[in-house]
Symmetry: C2
Subunit: 446 residues, 2 copies
């Protein structure tokens, strides 16, 4: 064995070490937080305990729609007599399953028929032409046949990559397994199975005192996660054991969606697949919900569940680190209030300032100005929490940069814009715009 | 001297080297390009040679409005007989100087009077209440007095931080130096002095053959840069030696702004200070521009200069690495064409896909769907350059992921959406959404 020349070896190592040090010196500074498994805004106590809703059962299986090794198809069985209501994306390029749900909800069905909802992730079946319609026919037909339901009572949702044919045979092949696996206590499993790149499962519930018994409401949602990655799609399913006429249920849902799911925004983009289905099984011991105080209490509880789920969707917005409530008050009209609120909530400059914990109220002034709503510089008042930042056309005399900067460090912020023009108000919820949003969305589809 | 134990030394070095290697392995991956002094989309040959415009002189000084060590106040003198036209931000919270310019442009002035434009950076004098109005009075009054002009012919622009009182005394103190320094060849100096965090000065020009002589047009612009950082403000000044009536000049400007400066977007946010002033000195030997072929040629050349400057503003958009032309054709109405084009150009999901060089046409389908414009999935055709990506409600049979991905690597992209609904068209220009945009805008104001 040749004798080692330790001096030469030391010299070589020294050179290598210097090179490595030089590379370390020029290595990029971390500009993005490490990929987190769970949003920093997720509920601290995990998935909530949800009450079982009599007449609702859940199952989930792995069908390999796009990826292996995860549950990607969910079946929900709704007992005979269930009333179903729904609201859907207004996109003019909405998916085949959305169009199918909308058509089915217009059909009058015998009160006694049950219903089912089938959800797949991995493929949105959007922009898939006539083949997309055939896929919806295939999966809803298979469920109808396996469960002995009219096909007009089988609803479906798809979320995932768009423009790719849905491999519906893989789903159809699993329908019997799904039916066999139905479980009345499976709501959390369903909340997990509909997730795409959501970082936590989303659930919310309420119990209302009806006449002769309690009425339960429980809902699940998936939000701004992505598959592929592709569009963020919101899917929401809410269940109640209330006895209620379908038309009344639909009316309540349509009324409450405006101040809940239509009052949130992550990035101003609208999915082709957003769907919310509300099902009332009628299995509660309470009397039928008609007009009156019980109906009002039920609608308020329903709104609470919807708002909770909607806010969880924002808190799981792509890259979100801050949850922001934007309150607009004293606008000239409701339309103006909405325009100002959304102009602020969607402004990239406002959202990046929030990410940077910068109380940059000038950008809020800018967003008010660009909204197109009636505004008067000298009547505008902008507040952060309880602190007035600007009023009477000028920075507020009570403004403290230090206090404002400290407030911006919170996880949850309230921005209030008092327009001083009229009596209309609007509150919306959004999140900040961070590097992580770019990371998630600028990666080439894998 | 103690004998070196090279073996021990080598061991120590080896350990250090391994540690350094381990640190290198866990060093963050570069997610942002290094801060570049100049946008990758800047003109390759630097600032263009611009023709002198007879009757226009420029000066710039350091007044320390906010920062020391840079020119921050610019004065432009316009000879007697100059016609002035302007277009301004539609923001309802526009700045004091914008409101002042708009008021002054409504005043009829004797044809013989000259005019001046004073521009400061560092402070936008927006949302500064009555003090803001007094600042505009002070600076335009000082210029009027030093140059013996009616105050109604002294226009001003301010760009920079908002909500801070403009230290107008510092500007007023420099007016005499500015007047002394006026230089007919100073346009490039002015283009540089109005820059904020623009990464390159922007200029464009044209020469038109008039009756009896040539007519020259030269313009400068500043774009989506920031001070403080605060809002991106666009300021544009265009000069010509044409003889032309003010009303005709204004009409041409108003007509051409729609397809130039109103057809660009960086991030959908609108500044409170955007201003475009067009001045015609009448010093050309050519006959007055009235109706007819010379007027048409002049207007076309003016549009060319405006479009060139507008596109340079996009190419210097915050964090831009790609310049994107969005063409919408065969829309039902011009409003629909504009809505679709802007929905695509402002979509964070489309813009991040472009940053990631991902030919993700599904996001374009989404943007069409959310725009609210009349669209039919089966009539929609989406192209990238000459490649058809999607048509007839489905991915195009000729689609090649490889070719599309190769195309996405270009600096300049053309996206075309053929709606197949009617005869209206609209082209707009935008840039991608990158980490650098977040870096620039999420930093705490320093």
């Amino acid at each position: 064995m040749a004798k080692t020349d330790w001096k030469a070896e030391a010299k070589t190592l020294k050179k290598k070490l210097n090179k490595a040090k030089a590379r370390l010196d020029t290595a990029p500074v971390a500009t993005t937080a490490k990929v987190k498994t769970v949003s920093p805004l997720a509920p601290k106590n995990g998935f909530p305990a949800l009450p079982d809703i009599a007449g609702v059962e859940f199952a989930a299986v792995e069908a390999g729609v796009r990826y292996a090794g995860r549950t990607d198809v969910t079946l929900i069985r709704l007992a005979g007599g269930t009333a179903v209501a729904g609201v859907f994306t207004r996109s003019s390029t909405r998916s085949a399953s959305v169009l199918d749900c909308q058509a089915k909800l217009k059909v009058d069905v015998p009160r006694g028929a049950g219903a089912a909802i089938l959800v797949n992730s991995g493929n949105s079946n959007a922009f898939t032409g006539r083949a997309g319609v055939r896929s919806v026919e295939a999966v809803t037909g298979a469920v109808a046949s396996a469960m002995d339901l009219p096909q007009s009572r089988v609803f479906s949702s798809s979320t995932g990559v768009i423009g790719e044919p849905l491999p519906h045979d893989r789903i159809v092949a699993k329908v019997n397994d799904l039916v066999t696996g139905l479980d009345p206590r499976g709501i959390e499993m369903a909340a997990r199975a509909i997730m795409t790149t959501d970082t936590f499962p989303k659930g919310a519930s309420a119990i209302v005192q009806g006449e002769g018994g309690e009425i339960r409401i429980a809902g699940i949602a998936k939000g701004s996660g992505m598959i592929a990655p592709d569009m963020a799609t919101m899917l929401v399913y809410i269940f109640t054991d209330a006895k209620i006429a379908p038309a009344r249920l639909q009316a309540m849902l349509s009324r409450q969606v405006d101040n809940t799911f239509n009052a949130i925004t992550v990035d101003s983009d609208t999915s082709t697949s957003d769907s919310l289905i509300l099902a009332a099984t009628g299995k509660s011991a309470a009397a039928e919900v008609k007009a009156g105080p019980v109906a009002a209490a039920f609608e308020a509880a329903l709104k609470g569940v919807m708002l909770d789920l909607a806010q969880q969707v924002v808190k799981d917005g792509e890259g979100a680190t801050k949850f922001v409530e934007v309150r607009v008050t004293r606008a000239a009209t409701p339309e103006d209030a909405h325009r100002v609120a959304m102009a602020i909530a969607n402004s990239p400059l406002v959202k990046t300032a929030i990410a940077g914990e910068d109380p940059n109220w000038g950008r809020i002034v800018m967003a008010v100005g660009k909204s197109g709503a009636a505004a008067d510089r000298d009547k505008l008042k902008i507040s952060l929490g309880d602190m007035v930042l600007a009023e009477k056309g000028w920075r507020s005399p009570s403004y403290s940069e230090e206090d404002a900067a400290a407030y911006m460090k919170r996880d949850e912020l309230v921005l209030t814009v008092d327009l001083g023009m009229g009596r209309a108000a609007r509150t919306v919820w959004t999140c900040d715009l961070t590097h992580r949003y770019i990371d998630i969305n600028a990666d080439y589809r894998s």
